[in-house]
Assembly symmetry: C2
Homo-oligomer: 430 residues x 2
């Protein structure tokens, strides 16, 4: 039977919002936000959209009005009563009350700050400027909006049955990947695919598939809203923006060299246990570990997010061993450009030697390669990064030359200060 | 488009469960359960179904197998992760952490205890026996199951369009009631209709209508699951079972006379603020208030649940005034057999003289009077009560002769001990 009231009510929707909740973001953003809001309330930053895939003409695909409507919609969002309840009452890695009453009170009335949008050629310049704790929360929704509007633009060309077959194929692909992963005993894998997902409903379906297909081997999702709705663990720790902003704020080369360690020193005061994960690659993993203070060897694990992942993991194992730590009790999290083949390879190589975890991102939630017209649904490399802090440019080197960013003179300075010898040149898919 | 997977998956449902969550119950049951679980872990009680409406032949309408399947299903339920999060993180009347970690831990692994079911003539004997904290949680789901199975039995006779028109009429009726209530400024009204609802989905719809129609005047629902899902306040305080069990356990007439006050003395140690609501009528409101200790006059309010409600409210006002309390700062909650006309009448009489609140039950969530074939959907008077505690019979007198229960000799004894002079004879609708 037709529900007349619903049909007519639905007419009143002006847009179909991509992001419908402030919790439709990565859990680690909230962890970082809490620490930033407490420790650095006066730091101002600029985040900026960077499309590393110049062949995807975002401004031709997505109209400015459509993009503004979606961004404006996010600025109308507030946490709901149920979302606040979840933040307050949930356990994260078994720990209760991860968020302080002060942070929840701040977040309760939070609304997203302004944005600046300009079309330049076939791309958009999209920037966010303001207090760090506010601006940082734009990164994930801004990316998710652009990714989904691009999907919608391409999908508009398809008929009803085309769409049905397209999604049937995509679902088959995800499900076959998950079936392959079932062959890896004790696998621990989670969804890290919020920012560059095909769309919200698709990510939500992928998580459902992971839950049904992998059972206890699926450890959770980085997406807070999906974690809330599907009652699974919210997953995440911290990101490059912390060392990048700390480094930009350093007043001397000595302070600069110390900045990435200062990040972790503060972090371990705010969090513990499974959140003590080192992200070593911002200015080169090798030198970072070589110069690390002794207390860092006691941390729970390390996240490998650029460079050749096997090399990164081996570097970490060597470092732990050299420092008298037992690598089999340490956690290595792989999170860079993973797909099933790479997961299988890394699993075969390191299973039993360390505790392993995989954060599966874009190729879980956006593997539409070869499925859309003119391959127009293939994922591409879009990021949104802190480009300056208190007026000074930020720099990222990473273990992959394609991911470096910042002004050339500053890149040279950072390379010198951090003793950065070589960078790998991994093909950049996402 | 047809979702083939969903259609086929749905074939595997064996029953359509009436109660799908341990939180599909009244909030005050959990408040009472927490205090019972802590203070009286060794008390054993028997709860028993009582159909006061003998003309509704439940055992003719509902098959024993169907009833057993629904009761058995409730025994498979566990709290979900999200439900535990809600209990832990929600605020109730603005207070955080209403439930202790100890209670949540107990409830986390809780499953409903056994039941005993027997057909006797055209009725069912349904009893629950065991530890008080466990057995008490059967009351609301047992009633909701019987009410909804009765609805289903009657609805089975109707065709698709008949059903559509039936619900259109019922919705119109609820919506017109809500429109009438909009004329009462500052009204405070909540849904107390879980136990004798037409069905879960219908109650859920009624709450939605209250939210949309009354806005801030709708203060919440007693149903925890609906409060969670709709992100509204869970409402409730305590019920007759506390004084009834305390009284049954009393070893002397002096202890018996003191029992109802002992309930409240314990209650105010466990809770405060808006939960300090006196329920005075178990053994007669007048004598209860006349003999009340001084500290009770400081409580937040009173709930009028039997007898003539205007008389009950006036008795409370007189009592507060006589004890130097300002009635305009006290809360009177009406919760017995309310419908719009009675609400309007009580509002007109007491608005401005006390703070008013209304707990609207069966005639909100089950007003199908005159709508079903042979009026077979009209609500009826079904209760599930503690009938004994540690082997001794319980007694309830109330301010309404039709609600009295217990063995005749004990009723006589209670009347003597509590100085119960007269009972009103309100027509018993629900």
């Amino acid at each position: 039977m037709i529900d007349l009231a619903k049909r007519v009510h639905d007419h009143t929707w002006k847009i179909d919002p991509v992001v419908r909740s402030l919790l439709d973001t990565d859990f680690y953003k909230l962890l970082m936000c809490q620490t930033v809001q407490k420790r650095h309330p006066d730091v101002r930053v600029t985040f900026s959209l960077i499309n590393r895939s110049a062949h995807v003409p975002l401004a031709d695909l997505i109209s400015e009005q459509e993009l503004r409507e979606q961004l404006d919609h996010v600025r109308t969002l507030r946490l709901t009563r149920g979302e606040i309840t979840w933040l307050r009452g949930n356990t994260f890695y078994g720990k209760q009350r991860m968020f302080t009453p002060e942070f929840i009170e701040w977040f309760r009335t939070f609304r997203m700050p302004e944005y600046r949008l300009e079309r330049v050629g076939d791309q958009y310049e999209l920037t966010f400027e303001g207090p760090w704790a506010e601006v940082m929360l734009w990164e994930v929704p801004a990316l998710a909006i652009l990714m989904e509007l691009r999907s919608r633009a391409v999908l508009r060309r398809l008929g009803k049955l085309d769409l049905q077959v397209l999604y049937a194929r995509a679902m088959t692909r995800v499900w076959e990947k998950i079936q392959a992963l079932k062959d890896l005993p004790d696998l621990r894998i989670s969804d890290f695919g919020t920012r560059r997902r095909h769309g919200f409903l698709w990510q939500n379906w992928c998580v459902q598939a992971m839950i049904e297909g992998l059972g206890q081997c699926f450890t959770g999702t980085s997406n807070c809203l999906i974690a809330l709705r599907r009652e699974v663990e919210a997953i995440g720790t911290n990101a490059h923006e912390l060392p990048m902003v700390y480094a930009a704020l350093a007043n001397s080369d000595a302070d600069l060299a110390a900045a990435p360690y200062q990040v972790l020193e503060n972090w371990q005061k705010d969090y513990d246990g499974n959140l003590l994960i080192i992200l070593p690659d911002t200015y080169g993993t090798k030198s970072f570990l070589a110069r690390a203070p002794a207390w860092m060897t006691y941390w729970t694990g390390i996240r490998i997010d650029s460079g050749d992942p096997a090399t990164g993991a081996q570097t970490a194992i060597d470092w732990w061993t050299a420092n008298g730590q037992d690598p089999t009790r340490k956690l290595v999290i792989f999170s860079d450009g993973l797909d099933v083949d790479k997961i299988e390879e890394l699993y075969a190589r390191f299973h039993g030697r360390v505790k392993l975890a995989f954060g599966w991102g874009t190729l879980l939630t956006n593997d539409f390669r070869g499925l859309g017209p003119d391959d127009g649904l293939a994922p591409f490399s879009l990021v949104c990064k802190a480009v300056s802090a208190n007026g000074r440019p930020t720099v990222k080197l990473s273990d992959n030359v394609g991911k470096a960013m910042g002004p050339p003179d500053q890149i040279a300075r950072y390379k010198r200060v951090f003793g950065m010898e070589s960078q790998s040149d991994e093909a950049l898919i996402v």
